[in-house]
Symmetry: C3
């Protein structure tokens, strides 16, 4: 299988953060990322130490979400440079991977 | 913790693609992969640029799904070679990781 | 974007395993992990080869779940050493990544 290098990005937010929808729109409209997938967690906690869980009704709007995408390393670096003022420290994880070219 | 090397695989599809169920059955029945997990995204977009979101009822059958598994690097290479005609380019991401041996 | 190295951890369990809730509480209360997210799969199978799927009602309590977190490599090593008797072999996958420092 022919492959090329990509950088995988996972951005950790919660549903309550407005950042989530804006970010998705931006990745789609401006950054023209190849593909993005958003996952909702069923529970989690962040720096605040506060637990977010889908079993607690009153917290149901603040579940963790992860925005995941991958693209060429140079393009990902550019995108993250654009986003650096909108995402708090400790919320963007990246690593190298390979993608099939068909 | 004793560890051994594995290759992690994430395959990006949508629920509407028949490929999804066939692939899962194949990984289970023929390839005898150690373990597979399927995740459903709540939103996303692919090469087409069309947004898929669980908030739009009419698109609810075309949400993104990710099929994830990991196994020994040589076994993963064999499996991906078998699958190369059934998965479109740009949809299979792999990287090296370690797994606990107990 | 300034970055530092982290180890990403994904622990594969099922909802039926009591280990899941205990582990989450432990990571939160004792290990003081920076952040944890729990994802529920919609289908999957493990070593047993038994398929777990959200479309089969009677198996709905045994869906796959993944507990994901990341932290400094040395801290992750310590945490995994503490957990090694509570998680079966082949269920903890780790890899190196970078996190944004803001």
């Amino acid at each position: 299988m022919k492959q090329s290098e990509v950088t995988v990005v996972r951005i950790y937010l919660t549903e309550a953060e407005r950042a989530m929808k804006n970010l998705l729109a931006r990745l789609h409209d401006q950054e023209k990322v190849r593909g993005v997938t958003v996952f909702r967690g069923i529970a989690g906690f962040g720096r605040s130490g506060v637990m977010h869980s889908s079993t607690l009704l009153d917290l149901s709007l603040d579940l963790p979400v992860v925005i995941e995408f991958f693209d060429e390393p140079a393009k990902v670096r550019r995108i993250l440079a654009h986003l650096k003022d909108t995402i708090p420290p400790g919320h963007v994880v990246t690593w190298s991977a390979n993608v099939n070219e068909g």
